[in-house]
Symmetry: C2
Subunit: 530 residues, 2 copies
């Protein structure tokens, strides 16, 4: 290679270093399944804009596949877990959350949820230790001189790696149970009178009884529920960083929180300048369908088609449930495309076809699609919103019941319970969303809101990643509340002081009055005596 070329390459290298806008280096701490599908859209766009993206992933990763052809770089760290181990763990948690949650008492329900979250957190902690205690890897990461870490807040570690590499970090997040992380680390406010606590399936307009429920749950989440085993995490973070700290404090250093919803989906609620609502950033126009799909869709005639999937984590249901569903689907005049990987139901109608994989977005964007039967994952719901398709929600776990509740509140969905629904329930629900015009109209309204933003969600997400790289943070957006103690934040010290002042003044006034009264009374008595 000639000296001239070497100097040109050097110049390019230097331009990358000095101009982080056009050539930044992004390190990513992702989470599996739909979270990965969502964050990958941001990563692809960052690459498109000339940045270098490296994903930190374990040798046991499930969906995050370093071997798939992509411009994303992968830094695969070894772990004692295997992919099947991880898959078994995730499936166990999902099964527990879907079928084995004691819904009768809230205490039992959330104790079980906490138990599952702690198991999950132990697993993430193990992976995190495999990263930060891997000296060779950490030296390599340090030498790579990344500009920023983009992390999924629901799986801690990204913030620890960022602190060790002394670089700023951003989060992407759908929610944390009870908004714990958003509140404690992000400073988000959730006034219980009109901000329903996530997981309760409540709306923003609540009755008195619902507001009582919301308040009790808020208090429960604030004072009892622990999303992760904080004691363990605090100790781990303190040991690694060599100073007394906590997970919540470390997460609180996030520059920006990219929340994966928007006001087409979310109820209007207070937020802070370092929160950016980028829901539906993965949405895009539909591509033409593969021939096989297009032919089947076209064969539906004027009735159109129904698209049915339960997401990237759940590919089948029990035989009995599958039969119930198949029986309902057989009775609609539409053709149905069902993503299903189990035993073919006996009563599957001739109008229903089973597929191991569906081009979901392309189908939802097809003019013949009339309805979407969905488990209510945020990604899927956003694709339906994007294309204006009404939904029948069969939520399974996590935020799904809440997501469907939001769509129901906005008049774009009907909700069913996977465990108790009958064929007639599903049939009625499908007929409603297809034949009652309000569902389609409301879905189209949400679509209009989604499309009518000053900047597309993906562009906003990428803008803030680039902003943090350009400016080495976004300190001007950081609320001062994050530096206050809990008592200071709630002005308890101030109110205590003011109440004490009022008490002292009241006490003195009463004392003075009674002293004056006694003196006057005694003098009068004495005078009378005299």
């Amino acid at each position: 290679m000639s000296a001239k070329w070497i100097s040109v390459l050097l110049l390019i290298q230097l331009s990358c270093y000095f101009d982080s806008v056009t050539c930044g280096k992004v390190l990513v701490w992702p989470t599996e399944y739909s979270h990965w599908i969502n964050i990958k859209t941001i990563l692809d766009e960052l690459i498109q804009r000339g940045h270098e993206v490296t994903v930190l992933t374990s040798s046991a990763s499930i969906l995050i596949d370093p071997n798939k052809s992509s411009d994303i770089k992968f830094e695969v760290y070894p772990t004692s877990l295997t992919t099947p181990d991880l898959e078994i763990l995730f499936m166990k948690w999902i099964k527990k959350m879907t079928y084995n949650m004691p819904k009768d008492t809230f205490w039992a329900y959330f104790s079980r949820l906490q138990e599952i979250f702690w198991e999950y957190s132990d697993c993430i902690e193990r992976l995190c230790k495999d990263v930060v205690f891997n000296k060779e890897l950490m030296i390599k990461l340090e030498e790579s001189r990344f500009d920023v870490v983009l992390a999924d807040a629901i799986g801690p570690c990204g913030e620890l790696v960022a602190q060790l590499l002394k670089i700023p970090f951003l989060y992407t997040l759908r929610f944390s149970p009870g908004y714990t992380l958003e509140k404690l680390s992000g400073g988000l406010l959730t006034p219980p009178s009109y901000v329903p606590i996530v997981l309760l399936e409540l709306y923003d307009r609540m009755t008195f009884v619902e507001r009582i429920k919301n308040m009790i749950y808020m208090l429960y989440f604030d004072f009892w529920f622990q999303i992760f085993n904080m004691k363990k995490w605090d100790q781990f973070y303190s040991d690694v960083l060599g100073r007394d700290t906590t997970l919540i404090e470390t997460m609180g250093k996030a520059e920006i929180w990219l929340i994966r919803t928007y006001w087409d989906f979310e109820f209007p609620r207070p937020f802070l300048p370092h929160f950016e609502f980028v829901g539906g950033l993965h949405c895009k126009p539909a591509n033409p369908l593969p021939k096989e799909f297009e032919e089947f869709v076209q064969s539906s005639g004027k009735h159109g088609v129904v698209v049915f999937t339960l997401g990237s984590m759940v590919r089948n249901v029990t035989e009995e449930r599958a039969n119930t569903i198949a029986s309902a689907l057989a009775q609609v005049p539409q053709k149905v495309l069902w993503r299903f990987d189990g035993k073919k139901p006996d009563n599957l109608g001739p109008n229903t076809r089973l597929y191991k994989w569906l081009p979901q977005n392309d189908l939802l964007g097809h003019p013949k699609t009339k309805a979407f039967i969905t488990h209510g994952g945020t990604n899927g719901i956003y694709e339906a919103i994007y294309h204006g398709i009404p939904m029948v929600g069969i939520p399974l776990f996590a935020d799904q019941p809440d997501n469907i509740a939001h769509m129901k509140a906005k008049g774009a969905a009907v909700s069913l319970d996977i465990k108790t629904m009958t064929s007639a329930d599903l049939l009625n629900a499908l007929n409603s969303v297809i034949n009652e015009s309000s569902y389609k109209e409301n879905a189209m309204k949400l679509s209009a809101i989604h499309h009518d933003q000053p900047v597309k969600p993906l562009d906003r997400a990428v803008f803030w990643v680039e902003f943090v790289m350009r400016n080495k943070g976004a300190k001007h957006l950081r609320p001062a509340s994050l530096s206050l103690t809990w008592a200071q934040y709630h002005s308890l010290d101030v109110l205590g002081f003011l109440l004490a002042c009022v008490a002292i003044v009241t006490f003195l006034v009463i004392k003075c009055c009674s002293f004056g009264y006694q003196k006057f009374f005694k003098t009068e008595k004495k005078e009378k005596k005299d």
Copy 2:
């Protein structure tokens, strides 16, 4: 005119009617002085984008000049007031606020402020009545079929006109004292632990004593201070609308609040989705200076120039103050351009030139400009931020002390008191902001933040005006809190109920225990006796 041309014109007319994006009709309820200068930028941009803009203005208007050549239409309504009347009133209020505010006790200070605001509100009410009771005008407005009203929230009436015309409305606003309107009508949250109440000159990071002060002021504004004479306004609005209503309720129907600040200026604080921070929307790159100015600026050599103005409302100061200022200015090596309309100070230095008008933005954007001496109006501060110029603030009234406090907190300004400052104070302040590099660096940081936004503030402001026209509102951004009573909003009913439950349960437990204890005790006693 041929039939062909008539049909073409009809088609254009229809396209305006059906496609309000490209041809909306905007009715404007403005406020005088700097507020008009700011809102006019939005109006010019709306016209640029093909909309029709009509400004409702009285025959007594001061700065709002219907005769100035512009594409803005003016609907001038007759009023018994005259322009000199209005000018005298404004000057009286300014003088009171600048020189006659009893700063020693807060009670006296805010009582005087309320008094001034009530006088102002009476004046606005008079103008408002001149509009809504002018039947001919109201019929004309109705027939004009406007799509939206854009109003300055600090001068009520826009919302009333919008309600009468049955069209949506948006606000533009810098602030209202104590954030009263933003809180009561907009639902904005102001946690007293880190959101300093406007007018207190406090920062977001407060000491314990400052937080006590902030809490007391917040309580004062919440429970005592009335920005307008609400009883009068409520009666007026109820009479006109033919139903029991209040000013606060009517203002609460605003679709969007365009707040004239941004996070380069404001401390990070909670807000709601229907609040959009569009501070500095009027800022633009500097044009070349007129020859006379350019020559004077160039004559400053390496020392550069200082720009000095006290805004559109105050063109001079007392003779004694002018001499103090002139004496300080004479001692700096820079050339000084001073907007001043009074008697020429005796000790005016040869480096200082007086002007009745200054091309402020073009001067601030000139590479030779080293500092800006300003009264701290939001418009001027934003021009300094835009061009990265450090400031010496001499705040006079309204939000100006607060604005300068913000710039001081961000390290881009030094603050002086117009009434007490000496020549030495001004000289030291000027030397500091010019020679201590931190001031320039911080001003440049603010400038970088201002320029580094996903969408320019003017584009965002215009986007939301257009959005409201396109969608006949922005209901999806409206927080449910606006439908709650004060007690419901603060969850007082819920807390009361829960406390009552706790009290009853405690009472029953104690009763049961004491009953059990007595029974056990008596039995034992009896047994002992036996």
